[in-house]
């Protein structure tokens, strides 16, 4: 009967886990024990059998079965509309300002407003004093009619604010992108504007001088913008893009 120590050394050798002194110790055991040599040979063969036993192929559809059942978080927006995507420059100052504005404004809660029309007075939070006194002027409207996404975006100017009213419906998850930096604008806030539409709370992001909103289904929301320091001064275009599944689905611009 082999001692436990001898069995330990034989197994550890099989696993390549012996240090120099243990190798010497095993050599001495093997030198004096026929039984140890036989055990080493047998266990070594078993280990090789196991090591050499071939893998079997998983079912061909296993990967797709798993893919079909895994739910991941909603993807973060990825800026991929080539034309104006490429032209956008990071705007750390604007982004920092936008982040500050978001913190100070919080999330606006609108009680069943079918269309904003620039009525800032009903917002929770302070954006401007007596905003309802400001006259609203419609400037432009953009029809969105692309495979998988339909609706409109309108531009209204109200005092020093530029207000974009989005009313879109997408069959699949859509990423809506507004280029702020190249229009000389900075982000002021975003508000969900219809109880019939999906909330935009938590699905928007402002970074690198762009606003991105990722959502699916009917989306009615308003974006408040204002002139950035050194902005284009009111005659620029505001690029609007929509991507579906990472591919550009719509690209257009609103004119101020």
């Amino acid at each position: 009967m082999l001692e436990d120590r001898a069995l330990y050394l034989i197994n550890a050798e099989i696993d390549g886990e012996l240090d120099a002194s243990e190798k010497s110790e095993l050599a001495a055991v093997l030198e004096r024990s026929e039984e140890a040599r036989a055990m080493r040979a047998e266990l070594g063969r078993i280990a090789r059998l196991l090591d050499d036993d071939a893998d079997i192929e998983p079912p061909a559809n296993l990967s797709s079965r798993i893919m079909a059942q895994v739910t991941l978080p909603a993807p973060n927006p990825s800026f991929s509309l080539s034309a104006f995507w490429a032209s956008l420059q990071p705007g750390p100052v604007a982004a920092a300002f936008a982040a500050g504005m978001l913190v100070s404004l919080g999330v606006y809660e609108f009680a069943s407003r079918p269309q904003m029309g620039g009525d800032l007075g009903s917002m929770v939070g302070t954006m401007v004093a007596n905003p309802q006194d400001l006259a609203a002027a419609a400037r432009d409207q953009l029809a969105v009619n692309a495979p998988g996404v339909k609706g409109s975006v309108s531009l209204v100017e109200q005092g020093s604010f530029i207000v974009l009213n989005f009313d879109l419906d997408s069959a699949e998850q859509a990423e809506i992108v507004v280029g702020l930096t190249e229009a000389g604008l900075r982000f002021g806030g975003i508000a969900h504007t219809s109880d019939d539409a999906l909330s935009v709370d938590g699905v928007f992001e402002v970074s690198g001088g762009t606003l991105r909103v990722v959502n699916q289904g009917r989306q009615a929301f308003t974006v408040f913008l204002s002139e950035a320091a050194g902005g284009s001064g009111g005659d620029g275009e505001i690029p609007i893009g929509v991507t579906m599944g990472g591919a550009p689905a719509f690209s257009g611009a609103l004119h101020r």
Binding site: D15, E17, R45, D55, P58, P59, L72, P73
Partner: protein, 180 residues
């Protein structure tokens, strides 16, 4: 076992990137499936356990701690799924006297060599504790430390189980007249 690559893929998955999800599944479905198969002895059950492991892993992906290898983390989930499945099967067989043999399915039997089947029979003759360390060491090439991490047992216990399992396998082969 690409720690940094795996972690990058995990981060992308957490942002909803399904290509990263596909990459992780592609990387690990085969070793996880084979580990599950060696523990369960049945390819259909192994596929179910592998699928359940991936679903559980991605459901709890936010709780994955990147200071550990993703490989170890998802292996632990898969091995536990396989062991739990094995226990459920065993209970069911105890309840159902007419239970069919839980060995390899007909397709696998037709494809696998005799020796491979003998080895699998030998593995199935071990308790799941012993079988699991053998599978992780010899089929998944895990070190003692990795096996300890995956099974959450001390390395000393890993060695003890592995060494005993090899001798039990030897005894099984000798008792069944299998030349090794």
């Amino acid at each position: 076992m690409h720690k940094s690559r795996d972690q990058a893929l995990v981060e992308r998955c957490l942002k909803g990137d399904r290509q990263a999800l596909e990459a992780l599944i592609g990387e690990y479905q085969r070793p996880l499936f084979n580990a599950a198969y060696r523990i369960l002895g049945n390819p259909e059950d192994a596929a179910d356990a592998t699928q359940a492991a991936f679903l559980k892993a991605f459901e709890h992906l936010a709780s994955y701690d990147p200071k550990y290898k993703f490989f170890s983390w998802i292996y632990r989930i898969a091995v536990n799924e396989a062991i739990n499945q094995f226990k459920r099967n065993r209970k069911q067989e105890e309840l159902d006297e007419s239970a069919v043999d839980s060995g390899p399915g007909p397709d696998l039997v037709a494809d696998a060599g005799d020796l491979s089947r003998e080895i699998q029979d030998g593995l199935m003759a071990l308790t799941e504790d012993y079988r699991t360390v053998v599978v992780l060491r010899h089929y998944s090439d895990c070190s003692y430390r990795e096996i300890g991490e995956i099974l959450q047992i001390p390395e000393k216990t890993v060695k003890s189980r592995l060494f005993s399992a090899r001798q039990l396998l030897r005894d099984h082969f000798v008792a069944n007249g299998i030349t090794i």
